[in-house]
Structures are given as structure tokens and as C-alpha cells.
């Protein structure tokens, strides 16, 4: 009884770890206020779902989820290349809304608000990942690989250049580095990982609808990154565990689900505000959010 529930939570934690660690690449390390992250998650989810439902092998759909999200990442970063600060935040938020509107209204493709049910479990070379424990293993391995990639990136010389985009763009230009290219690389990687997370999410739940990729969901991911600390991968991973598990305590109060849902959101929002007010660097952050 309790074990399937724990496995379910761990699968969610793995998916959100990918989302938050990859958001930290753009938000934390590169210092771009990217509110469009959840849109890449959605793009990945829809890409993978639609391909698999139309007979494409899972492994190709899985890779396509990352690649298509990455392409959108490049388009977004190219479109907003001249914007900074709160204008950048709002343009990326606008991008999220445009994508949500597309998911909602392109009914011939996405079935609009009805969502897409019956998404099959992944099948890799004839082997179907059917049971939740097997799915957990699959998701966890991918999450760990992505965390290691992000960790290697941020400790490499490329990672140092990314932090310079955040801290000293003028210095970079003096050194003859292409700031836009660095931003684009960070955004493409981040979007690509979010797309992969989207694919994992869709094939686990076997149902997606536009509601999973809205403003409320951005706040959850943002809260996790800010609680964990800007530019800290360790922080993001630990905060994902804490913040996904924390509202689960509410379950033991046996509240009706009509109350549980909003209460969970209230908790996230309060946590975000408290962290912003009293501990702006989060748990492990080394710098303030610009």
C-alpha cells in the first residue's frame, strides 16, 4: 500500500529534478530570467506523445522531445536577445502563454482542453517499461545522467563563461566572447532537458492536458530553484525532494481533494514569499538573484 505511493513520489521527484536542475542552468548560472521553462516541458510532452501515438518508436520520440524543445529554446533566446531583467521575464512568460494557447486551441493536433489519454508506456528495443518500479529505475537513471551533465557543465570552463554572462557581460565582450552564443547554448541545453522531462512525464501519467503546463506549474519549479539556491545544483536536487514531499504531509490530514489542491498551492506560494523575504539565497545559493 505504502510502497507504490513512495515509488510514485520518487518518479515525480526524478522528473522535477530534471526540470529544476535544467532551469538552474539558465536562471541560476547564466542569469537569464526564464519563465518559459514550463513551455519546453509541455512541448516535450506533446512531441513525444504525438509521435508515439502515430507509430514512431519510443526512443526516437524521446530524443525528438528534447530536440524540438531545444529548437524552440533557440527560437525563444533569439527572439528575446535584446531584452533584459523584467522585460525578459515577461517576454518568456508571454512565450509560455502563447504555447498554452496553442495546446488549448490546436484541437486537431492536441485535442485541446480534453487532453490526450492512453499514452503508452515506453518501449525500448522490444522491452516495455511497464511496472512503476521499472519506470522509476528508467527515470532515475536519466535524471542522474542529466544531473551529472549539468554538474560537469557548470564546473567546466564553459560553465565559468556562463557565470560570466550573468556577472560580467562587458568583460566577456572585451575578451572577444560571443555572449549571445553562450546564452543560446545554455538555453538550448536547458530547453532540451526540460523537453526530455516532458516526455518522461507524459509516458508516466499516460494522460496530458494543457493544464499541466500553466503559470501555476512555473511557480512550483521556480519555488524549488529559489528555495534550493540560485546556481546550486545540489540545492536544486535537495529542494526538489523537500518541496515535493512537504505537501504530502497534508495528505495525512485526510482533507477532501477540493481543499488539498489549493492548500498545496498556498503552501508553495507562502514558501516562495518567505524565502524571498527572509533567505533570498535559498538553502545552498551563493549569489543573489539579479
Amino acid at each position: 500500500m505504502i510502497l507504490p505511493y513512495i515509488i510514485h513520489l520518487l518518479i515525480f521527484i526524478s522528473i522535477y529534478t530534471i526540470l529544476t536542475v535544467s532551469l538552474n542552468l539558465t536562471l541560476g548560472f547564466t542569469g537569464m530570467l526564464n519563465l518559459g521553462h514550463i513551455a519546453f516541458f509541455g512541448i516535450g510532452a506533446y512531441t513525444s506523445t504525438l509521435l508515439v501515438m502515430n507509430g514512431v518508436p519510443y526512443i526516437i520520440a524521446f530524443l525528438a522531445a528534447g530536440i524540438i524543445a531545444g529548437i524552440f529554446g533557440y527560437l525563444l533566446v533569439y527572439a528575446v536577445r535584446k531584452l533584459k531583467g523584467d522585460y525578459l521575464a515577461l517576454a518568456t512568460l508571454g512565450f509560455s502563454f502563447v504555447m498554452t494557447t496553442l495546446f488549448l486551441n490546436w484541437s486537431s493536433l492536441t485535442r485541446g482542453p480534453l487532453g490526450i489519454p492512453g499514452i503508452p508506456r515506453p518501449e525500448i528495443f522490444g522491452f516495455i517499461i511497464k511496472t512503476p518500479p521499472a519506470y522509476l529505475l528508467f527515470v532515475a537513471v536519466i535524471a542522474i545522467i542529466i544531473c551529472i551533465i549539468c554538474w560537469r557543465i557548470t564546473t567546466s570552463s564553459f560553465g565559468t563563461l556562463l557565470t560570466a554572462v550573468r556577472d560580467d557581460q562587458l568583460g566577456l565582450q572585451v575578451l572577444g566572447k560571443n555572449v549571445f552564443l553562450l546564452k543560446a547554448k545554455a538555453m538550448i541545453l536547458s530547453a532540451c532537458f526540460a523537453g526530455i522531462a516532458g516526455s518522461l512525464f507524459a509516458h508516466y501519467l499516460s494522460f496530458i492536458d494543457p493544464g499541466s503546463f500553466t503559470l501555476t506549474e512555473i511557480i512550483l519549479v521556480f519555488t524549488i530553484v529559489i528555495v534550493g539556491g540560485i546556481a546550486s545544483i545540489k540545492g536544486s536536487i535537495i529542494a526538489t525532494f523537500v518541496i515535493i514531499l512537504l505537501p504530502e504531509l497534508l495528505r495525512f490530514l485526510a482533507l477532501p481533494s477540493a481543499i488539498l489542491g489549493p492548500l498545496r498551492q498556498v503552501l508553495y506560494a507562502l514558501l516562495l514569499l518567505i524565502i524571498l523575504l527572509y533567505r533570498p539565497r535559498g538553502l545552498y545559493g551563493r549569489i543573489d538573484l539579479e
Partner: protein, 291 residues
């Protein structure tokens, strides 16, 4: 006939957006950050009226006055409890923006906890429909258009002819200099939150009467109000009002050609285009995207 109806609909919806945009823009001009939670003040206005008038059967005008008082208090509270401490710590605009989205989500869900997720309606007794040049318009809709136009003139007059308005413009223009000549920017910021939230209350009341109430409608309203403000120029209250009418017209005439599901898409696309190509808006003077 269709044309007049579309024009009237543009004026009605534009008027509602303008009320949202004017408060947002007023707060932005003195505080210089995006108060996204303004959308929640509007929704709270609608729900206060629902609570006082429909649930507790206050006389209508008393309900309206208590609603406006409560929303003003809510605006002042948001500033005092969240924004002022953050500003004191020299938090950047981005932090304030994230905090404001946090407040938006917080109140949206508190409203849902109190009133439930289902749609609520405030019913009023009489709402006669008139016909102008073949287009239908209700009494309430005429009131909406009149109030939004009237408020535009009152706000413009206030900004140029009262001490508070002049102080607000001074702080908007140059907070440092305003401080030197003895204007307290914090006091002005608080007043703009109170005024902005009262405007949100008026918008909330009219939206509550004209449409239905739903806890999650704040985000959508905020996007519309914000888009209106960006089209007109975020820093100018007058520009924000005109921008909202442009948005209202674009939506109504756009839907004449496009499927109605894309009505919201029109706002987002306009918002995106303006942010990318002309972030200072049509009537904005300063403050481009590059700081």
C-alpha cells in the same frame, strides 16, 4: 450592424481592460516593478462584492463601498507586508516580479479555498437592453463604458492638478530628486498601491456584474490589463487606458476573422510583439527594455 456591435463590444471589453491596466500602470509608474498580483486584487474585488451583496445581503451601495475599502486595504497590505521589506533590502525588479506572481498564486488559491472552484454569479435586479444602430447594449455595459472613460479623465486631472498627483509624477520621474525636495517616495508608493487597488476594486465589481466570477480569472485579466498597458506604454496611465481599448478592438475584430478560441491568443501575440519590437509602447516616453 455587425460593425456597430463589434465596435460596442470593443468599447465594453476595452473599458474593463482599461480599468485593470490603469491601476497596474499607476503602481508601475511610481514603483517601477511589475505588480502582477494586481490581477488578484481585481478578482478579490469581484468576490468581496459577491460576499457582501449576494451572500450577506448588504444594500448595493454599501456593498460597493465596503468592497472598495477592502480592496484598498488589500493593496496596502501587499505593499506593506511583501514589497516594502523587499525594497528595503534593495531587491531587484525581478525579485519583486517573482514575489508578485507568488502573491497572485497565493490569493487565487485562498479565494478558491473560501468560495470553491466553481463559477459564481452576482445577480442584480434590472438590466435593460437598449438598441443603438442595430447593436444591443445593456444598461450595465453603458455604465461600464461611462465609468472607464470618466475615471480616465479623473485620473488625468488628478495627476496634474492635485498635490498627491504631482508628487506621484515627481517620484515616477526621478525618485532621488523627489526625495531631496522632501517627498517621501515610500508614502507615495503606498498611496499608489491604495489608489491602484481601489481601481482594481472598481474593475472587479464591474467584471463581477458583467461576467461570472472564477478564482483563476486573475491571471487572464492581468495578462489583458498588462498587454493594454504595454501597448500604450507602461509608464503612462493615459497610454495604458488607450492601449486597452486598442486591445479590446483587436480582440473583437480579430475574432470576426479567426475562430473564437484564439481570442486570448491575440492578446498574447500583441504582448509578445510589443515587448520585442516596441517595449516602450505607443505612448510611452522613456524606459526601453535595456536599462
Amino acid at each position: 450592424m455587425v460593425l456597430t456591435q463589434l465596435l460596442l463590444n470593443s468599447l465594453i471589453i476595452g473599458g474593463l481592460y482599461a480599468l485593470v491596466a490603469a491601476g497596474f500602470s499607476l503602481i508601475y509608474s511610481t514603483n517601477k516593478f511589475m505588480h502582477f498580483a494586481h490581477g488578484t486584487s481585481v478578482v478579490a474585488g469581484g468576490y468581496f462584492l459577491y460576499a457582501f451583496y449576494s451572500l450577506n445581503h448588504f444594500p448595493f451601495w454599501l456593498a460597493v463601498i465596503t468592497t472598495l475599502f477592502c480592496t484598498a486595504l488589500l493593496g496596502a497590505g501587499m505593499y506593506k507586508i511583501i514589497y516594502e521589506p523587499l525594497q528595503k533590502r534593495k531587491a531587484s525588479n525581478v525579485i519583486l516580479l517573482i514575489a508578485s506572481i507568488g502573491i497572485l498564486i497565493l490569493f487565487q488559491n485562498i479565494i478558491q479555498l473560501i468560495f470553491g472552484a466553481s463559477i459564481q454569479t452576482i445577480s442584480i435586479q434590472s438590466n435593460t437592453t437598449y438598441t443603438i444602430l442595430g447593436a444591443a447594449i445593456t444598461q450595465l455595459q453603458i455604465i461600464i463604458i461611462s465609468i472607464s472613460i470618466l475615471l480616465y479623465f479623473i485620473l488625468t486631472w488628478m495627476m496634474y492638478h492635485t498635490t498627491l498627483g504631482k508628487h506621484m509624477r515627481a517620484v515616477a520621474d526621478n525618485p532621488g530628486l523627489a526625495k531631496i525636495i522632501g517627498i517621501d517616495p515610500k508614502k507615495i508608493a503606498l498611496w499608489s498601491f491604495i489608489l491602484g487597488a481601489t481601481l482594481a476594486g472598481i474593475a472587479g465589481i464591474l467584471i463581477g456584474l458583467e461576467q461570472n466570477l472564477e478564482p483563476s480569472m486573475g491571471t487572464g485579466l492581468m495578462i489583458k490589463g498588462f498587454t493594454g498597458a504595454v501597448i500604450g506604454g507602461v509608464e503612462s496611465v493615459g497610454g495604458a487606458v488607450l492601449g486597452s481599448y486598442i486591445l479590446g478592438a483587436a480582440e473583437n475584430f480579430g475574432v470576426w476573422y479567426l475562430p473564437s478560441g484564439y481570442k486570448d491568443g491575440i492578446a498574447f501575440i500583441l504582448l509578445f510583439l510589443f515587448l520585442l519590437l516596441k517595449p516602450s509602447g505607443l505612448f510611452g516616453i522613456r524606459k526601453g527594455a535595456k536599462q
